[in-house]
Structure formats: structure tokens, C-alpha cells
Assembly symmetry: C2
């Protein structure tokens, strides 16, 4: 926004305090107070902490003039109502996963990550330099929302299972706590996806009301202690090649911000996109070791299961694309990018990572 | 820095213009002009462009008050003299690779990346949440420098070769253009490392004065057209698990900055750390395809060569650690982090990436 435009809008902008009554230098740095509703409880300390760090950085960059207060899930808005609240303008912004809202629009899933999809680096490459940002801008603008990419959790674990899962047959009838696009694919494979709040999972697994539960990765999973009641901890969590966290912003409120505040919010979002992944990457290793010492048994999904899951994923995506124009538009761009990107990642990153991870020992 | 501290320092700070003569609001946002010397020519458009984007973001965040002007290699300082110029204070900051300066202190190499070392995500995890930042702060502060992490190029290619390299024997006597820590290891393996400016490589390979040349990755390598004179394009570039780009800042100049300007520079650095990698990740795939269409033949180093290179790398690192306390201090922390991190990355990221990169096809 040009400064002149800003001054013009300032008189009408509800967030601007005394814009016309103070000297020029203050007009470009008005006092602005926003509320951000997160989908996380405070004990998901990496995601919740990253939301806080984002707002703190924005305050620092604006000499305390642009204040954003973070609320945990349920404090002002339920964890799964964040996007709606941003759309209605009852809060200015949120901190959530777009995949929570695929019931509204399946194409939202691309903003988070798809089964067997882009890994964290590939997702960022697509989002910033491969057309993803423009597609998400267009998609969410239809609902009056702008989405900022504010983090990633990487490849998740495949969850906790009471019994070993060896072939696609073992998935049939499996009562598994799983949501999002992965839930749709698991359902197609014969599983019976369950919706359960995190606090109810332990008891349900212990009683056998459910057979399995998918969560996040070791750093967060460890807190629930599920390996005590379902010791098989499967990998990889193929439901997303990586899971990107999003901050939806009410588009009208965004447009009211001075350019330097938009810049502060954007750059702080980009910083947290880097930092959240780094913090999980630093914390997961030790958490997994502690879980293994506590009885978790790590198992890798068989090639047969991965093949069947991949096949089901592609079938589901193509079916949705055939009947949903929004989904198809993103899917065509995204899947071309994915294929092209894999053709490069398997040339340099793949071989060196493989040698380093598996073979090199002092 | 507290605002009161800043005002106290302001009177002495050479970069502060009229700090005591203007009203309070202006005192926290003085006009500051810095110069940044990059080690890159302008045609290395991703790295050079990222330096520019960093400075542009800082200007945006400070309403144009904190200006940093970027100079290409050779404009005010030679590409390999950037660190010295920052240390002496003749320029306020640079944009370079710390590994260019390992002749001065071998431990600087950890700031960039080591052979068979941390990949991009692992490097960020180590730097921000694994102790790397504190170790680099301590190491560089001895020379009056603060280093900001401002980018990464990921795993590089292994370079262009006139003849196939099949066993470690083929490396003996190989005249290869390579620098940094990888050059030391290649020398240990019997190669004869050569220093050559990029502009001279093509003719040297064509004439056979050198046998091979290592550069960066497809996006940058394509411009030199080396595959026309040395068609074997080897992978992976094991010289670094990833190569991180650094902006060294003169520590005294850094301390003179108001807190909000430090914050602006820090957050812009973090943003570019994300963006540079994303831009390379988005651009390398197509560049590689064009090179292959133009005659490049991609070859993967044999397991035998990787094993021998890995063994030589560990031997060299341990020898240096035995006689260099600065190196040892970083090496001990870094190698423990690397082992621990690999134990996690091979559980989830590794298996899913491997399935996706190599096996999954529609």
C-alpha cells in the first residue's frame, strides 16, 4: 500500500488510533491491536511457542506499535473454528492447519501438504517460487482470507498401533484416530477413521475402543505417553510429505495495515516458517530415544502398504480433481511441480542423505 | 539494547546522524547507511539477489531509515577479502561463505558445512536450537565479527569430469578445481586441487590443463557450460552436507544499532536463509534437465568412492581437532549433534523421501 493510500484509508480504518491528529511520522506507525486465535493448546509448545514468537517479533519491528495477542485453542475460539472466525472478522488472524477445513474446500489441503506430497523444502520452493503462493492467494481470497506460511512439522510419524500392521489387509476395519486428507485415503483403504480430542486417545487405546492413533512426531507425541498402551510406533507418516502451518489473516484487515506493518508481519511469518521446522528437527531425535527406552517399538510400513497407500492417494486426488475445479487448478500445478522436484531431489539430496543417514559411521 | 543505552551510545556512534538534535520518536529510528560487500558476481543471481532482497527488506521494515547498499565481488572488495574488510571495519557487513577463510581458522568451516555433514535442515536445527549459534558467536567474536546465517545452497553437485571416476584410484593425481574443506580432503585422497576463477575454468577443462571442476549446483553451473567440455556431471557433492551462506557483521557496528534495527537485520537474515534455499530448490530441476539435453551425463559416485571419501574426511577432521582447540570445541558439539540428528532423520524423513523420490510413479 502506498503511504498516500494508507492515509486515505486511515480515516475509515477501525484499527487506526488518531491517525489524522498526530504528526506525519506517527501516521505511518499507528497503534494497532490484533487478536490471533491458535488451534493449539499451550502444551504443544513448539507450535504455540512459534505463534508467540511471531507476534513478539512483529512488536519488536514496530517499536511496540503493532501488537498481536495470541490465544490458545478454546480461549476465544475453538481449535477447529479458527478459519471461520478469521473469515467473519471476529478475530483478525489465526494460527492453524488449513487441512482442518477441507470439509469446506478440499483444495485447502494443498496449503498444508498432501499424502506422499512435497517435503518441507519442496513445499517452500513451491509456495514461494513455484506458483503455490499465487494459487493459495486466489483460493483463499474467495473467502476474504490471506494465508501466511508460518511453520512446518516435517514428515510425521505413522502413529501408535496396538497390533502390527503388515499388509494392506491389516488396514481393513482398523479403527484409527486420524483426520485430514490422510483420513480420506485411509477410509478408502478400508480403515474406519475416528475423530477424538487428544485428551481422550490414551483411554480409548487402552480399552481397545480404537486400534491406532496418528498424531504428530516424537517431540509432541511423547507427552501423551501412547506408547505405553500401543507400543508399535510406525513410520513414515505418509499422510503428508510435510505439514505446513498457516496463519490466516482477514483480508480486509490486512489491507488496512500500513505497508511497513504488512512487511513486519510477512517477514516474521517467513522467519517462523524456518524456525518451527528447525526446532522440531532439533527436538525429535532425543524424544524418540526416550520413547524407545520407555517401550516404543519403531516399525517401518512395508513397501506393500506404502504402494497400496500411494495408489489410493492418487485415486482419491484424481477423483476430487474431476469434480472440483478449485482442487483441479491447484492439483495440476502442484503435481507437475512435485514430479519435477523429485527428479532433482533424487539426484543430489537423496543419495547424500541416504549415505549419511544409513551407512556412514565413524 | 535498551533505548536508554542507545541514546547514551548515540552521541559517539559514527553511523548516527543528528541523534541528539531531533525529537524522541526520531531518536529511536536514526538514519543509518551501511555497505555490504558480497563475494558474488551479479550473475550468480540467486545468492547476489538474496543479498539485495535482504537489504530491501531491512529498508522496508525501517521506513527507509536503515539503508544497506550491496556491492558485487570486486566492486569495493575482492570476493575473498570480504571477511577481512568486515573485521577491519572498512565495510560494515558482507555476504560470503565462511569456508573461504579456513586458511585463517579451520573452525570457520563449520559455519558453512562440512563434508558428509549436516544437510540444510539439520544445519538450521544445529545453528538455532543445537548450540551452533552460540559456538559461532564465540568463535567469530574473537575477530570482532558477528555472523548471520543468510542462506543455503543445499547439497551441491560433485562437479564436471573429463573422464569417468570409478574407484578411489581414479582420484589419485586428478587435477580438480575445488576449494574449502573438500579440497583438503581431496588432497588427502591424492587429488591435486587447483584454484581457478570461474571465468578460466572452461578453457582449462577444454585444453585438459585440469581434469575436473567443482562448482555449485545445476542452476548456477549451467551458465558456465562446462558440460560441453567435461560431460560427466557427478553427484553427490559430498564436500558439504549443505553449504550455508553467511553475512558477517562488524561487531562494534552491530552494537551501535538501535534494538529495532538489529531486529530488522536479524529477521531479514532468517527470511533469506529460508528463501535462498527455496529458490535453488525451485530452479535446479529445470536447469539440470536442460544440461542433460545439452549433453551432460549424470553419474553417481560409487559406494567405494563415497566410503573412501568419508574415511578421509573423518581422519582430516580428527587430526585438526587434535591440534586446534577452536576447531575441537565446535567439532565435539557438531559431530554429536550430527549423529543424533541422523538417528532421527533416517526414521521418518529418509524412508518417505526415498519412497517418493525413487519409487512412486503415477
Amino acid at each position: 500500500m502506498k503511504r498516500r493510500d494508507f492515509l486515505k484509508r486511515g480515516a475509515a480504518g477501525s484499527v487506526l488510533v488518531g491517525a489524522m491528529a498526530t504528526p506525519a511520522i506517527a501516521q505511518s506507525t499507528p497503534e494497532v491491536s490484533w487478536r490471533m486465535a491458535a488451534s493449539w493448546p499451550k502444551n504443544l509448545e513448539v507450535t504455540y511457542g512459534s505463534a508467540n514468537a511471531l507476534c513478539q517479533r512483529v512488536a519488536e519491528l514496530t517499536n511496540g506499535k503493532f501488537k498481536i495477542q495470541v490465544f490458545a485453542a478454546g480461549e476465544i475460539v475453538g481449535g477447529l473454528q479458527v478459519l471461520d472466525a478469521v473469515q467473519s472478522g471476529s478475530i483478525e488472524m489465526g494460527h492453524t492447519l488449513s487441512s482442518f477445513y477441507i470439509g469446506k474446500k478440499p483444495a485447502y489441503a494443498f496449503d498444508t501438504g498432501m499424502p506422499f506430497g512435497l517435503n518441507c523444502r519442496q513445499h517452500n520452493a513451491w509456495m514461494y517460487f513455484g506458483g503455490g503462493r499465487e494459487l493459495m492467494d486466489e483460493l483463499f481470497a474467495k473467502d476474504g482470507i490471506l494465508v501466511l506460511t508460518v511453520g512446518n512439522v516435517g514428515v510425521q510419524m505413522g502413529g501408535f498401533y496396538r497390533k502390527e500392521i503388515k499388509t494392506p489387509e491389516d488396514i481393513k476395519g482398523l479403527k484409527i484416530r486420524i483426520g485430514g486428507f490422510g483420513g480420506i485415503v485411509m477410509s478408502r483403504m478400508g480403515a474406519v477413521p475416528q475423530q477424538l480430542p487428544p485428551g481422550d486417545i490414551y483411554a480409548s487405546l487402552e480399552r481397545g475402543t480404537i486400534d491406532a492413533a496418528e498424531l504428530i512426531g516424537p517431540y509432541d507425541d511423547e507427552k501423551l505417553g501412547l506408547h505405553k498402551v500401543a507400543k508399535y510406533y510406525y513410520t513414515p507418516g505418509w499422510w503428508e510429505g510435510s505439514a505446513s502451518v498457516t496463519a490466516p489473516v482477514n483480508l480486509a484487515k490486512w489491507k488496512e495495515l500500513p505497508k511497513s506493518y504488512q512487511s513486519a508481519l510477512q517477514v516474521a511469518a517467513n522467519e517462523q516458517n524456518l524456525m518451527m521446522m528447525a526446532r522440531y528437527d532439533a527436538g525429535n531425535a532425543d524424544a524418540l530415544k526416550r520413547m524407545i527406552a520407555g517401550g516404543a517399538e519403531v516399525k517401518t510400513f512395508s513397501r506393500e502398504i506404502l504402494d497400496a497407500s500411494y495408489k489410493a492417494t492418487v485415486a482419491v486426488m484424481e477423483e476430487i480433481a474431476a469434480k472440483d475445479a478449485d482442487f483441479k487448478k491447484v492439483y495440476d500445478n502442484w503435481s507437475a511441480f512435485l514430479d519435477n522436484s523429485n527428479s532433482w531431489f533424487r539426484v543430489a539430496e537423496g543419495p547424500l542423505d541416504t549415505f549419511r543417514y544409513y551407512y556412514a559411521k565413524k
